[in-house]
């Protein structure tokens, strides 16, 4: 397919004496959607945090776009192309939808040195506001841009959060349970959005999700974690037919999903 965007090898992480990640290796190409699944406590979130820079691995290395990043702080990884959304959508509740995006665009402009750190402009640049409006239209939030983000419906808040990550032009987008807390109708709309984003922008999407329907319809590759170890990794078909995966994970999850 395309070139390798993310490579991580031999990641170990433990909290105190409890090992959470054991020799985890993962890689992603542009345009690929990669799902990490596993039972609760399997280490999915820790893997996410290790890749995004919220925690540092005890050993192993991570490469993004050929740059070693395992010791780089989270905000620095964002600057070289890691976008992230959270399990519970995080937006700025006291700001309007438009202001949320303006803050994100201004952050990007600042780390790209297109905007001075301190300026004496009291209102955002027109170009910034126009870009924000345009993206809100694209994301179907155009008619809500003056509403407070805190009173948006949950699905819309998730979309706003995704939009805020997208304005940073990420190479990799990490979505932590993008469907959590959504209605069924919202889920299919969100899945469509994610598919479109990955295709149109050539972004590598890494996601965790409990809804197996979503996982198998979205992902090109699936990695299964159990007790911090990768027990299977491959195409959805390979994973679906893996006896090991069926044994410890998929069997009962699929029934309950």
């Amino acid at each position: 397919m395309n070139q390798m965007i993310l490579r991580a090898e031999g990641l170990y992480k433990s909290y105190g004496s409890i090992p959470v990640l054991k020799d985890v290796t993962i890689s992603m190409r542009a345009g690929e959607t990669h799902a990490v699944i596993g039972p609760n406590g399997a280490g999915k979130t820790t893997l996410f945090k290790t890749l995004s820079g919220e925690v540092f691995p005890d050993s192993g290395w991570i490469e993004i776009d050929g740059k070693r990043v395992e010791k780089l702080a989270g905000h620095r990884r964002v600057r070289i192309g890691v976008g992230r959304t959270f399990q519970v959508a995080r937006v700025f509740s006291d700001y309007s939808v438009l202001q949320n995006l303006v803050v994100a665009i201004e952050a990007r402009a600042r780390f790209r040195k297109r905007l001075p750190t301190v300026s004496f402009r009291l209102v955002p640049l027109n170009s910034v506001v126009d870009e924000a409006r345009g993206l809100l239209e694209q994301m179907g939030l155009g008619n809500q841009q003056d509403r407070l983000a805190g009173i948006l419906a949950y699905g819309d808040r998730k979309r706003l959060e995704l939009a805020m990550s997208l304005v940073l032009n990420p190479r990799i987008l990490m979505l932590d349970e993008p469907m959590a807390g959504m209605s069924v109708a919202d889920r299919s709309a969100a899945a469509e959005t994610i598919r479109r984003v990955a295709r149109e922008r050539g972004i590598a999407v890494l996601l965790t999700e409990h809804d197996m329907g979503v996982v198998f319809s979205l992902a090109n590759r699936i990695t299964v974690l159990n007790y911090g170890e990768i027990i299977a990794s491959g195409t959805p078909d390979q994973v679906r037919t893996s006896a090991k995966v069926r044994d410890i994970y998929l069997g009962h999850e699929v029934e309950h999903a």
């Binding site: 700025f92 004496f120 027109n126």
Partner: protein, 342 residues
Amino acid sequence: MKLSFNSNWGKKEDATTGILLALAFASVPAWADKGLLFFCSVLLTHILFALSFNLIFGLSGFVSFGHAAFFAIGAYTTGYLLQRQGEMYPFLFWIASGLSGAVAAIIVAAIALRRSSGVYFAILTLALAELVHVLISKSTFLGREDGMTGIKRPVMGSGILQVDLAAGDNLYYAILIGAIFVGVVIYMLWHNAFGRTLGAIRQDEERVRFLGVNVLAMRIGVFVASGAFAGLAGGLYAPSAQLLTPDLGNWGYSALPILFCLVGGANYFWGPVLGAIIFAGLEYATRDVIGLSEIIVGMVLLIVVLAFPGGLIGGVITFRQRWPGRLSRNASSASLVRESAE
């Protein structure tokens, strides 16, 4: 309240409020006696002190319990320079005050802000401010517990353009001009992209971090700016008071800006301004009633905080939204960002 982002709505109100306030303060020498004039010059420095504090408290969402340390350091810096030197290059002593406040803030940030946040940070600032307080009261060259006296009111400028701050109301006007200048700078910081990002950090720092922002650097930046402005406020205070006591760095003095912000409304640029004016008004009105002053001030604070959790400005805005048209649209002048946040 629906507002379009790029309209100047709110900014115009703010400009009007600012100009009216400046004119009101400028008119004081025309009608007030010496005592009231001194009172107003102290009020101006308190307004600046509270505005500088609210950059971190209301805008950025973290608290320092020791902000008086910066005010005291600024005051003693200018005091020390003016004790020795009656004539100085224009503004040099005030610039020195701002710088000393900034340097002190850098030290506090390096010690406390890097490793703590929330209430732990607040307690650390309290401890560090108490250290400043003790150092001042043990330092002979700063006058120890007795305070620093003999602070001259300088002649500012050189050549033809000389202003003798000891003469007439010149010092008051100099303080007013300084306060307006710093107030405008703080207003800009509150409303530009830097301020917007700080407001976002207050709401969700993790989200801001994942917008590629170095949150710690932003916090240190605003803390140092706040320390510099508090130092400058102290510097303006020194030649006016002419007596500086270590109490300026005490925790009781650190509580003042917090109270001003809570009463006026910490979420609004004008909140601390209103709070400081109300407190000064109460203090002045009850100045002859020995012992009763604290009780009245305390009662007012209690009532305001219980009745208006968003301060007086927050209360007015809520009132206006619930019963539109009852109050004139110019009744309050909250900033655009905060206004739409309600």
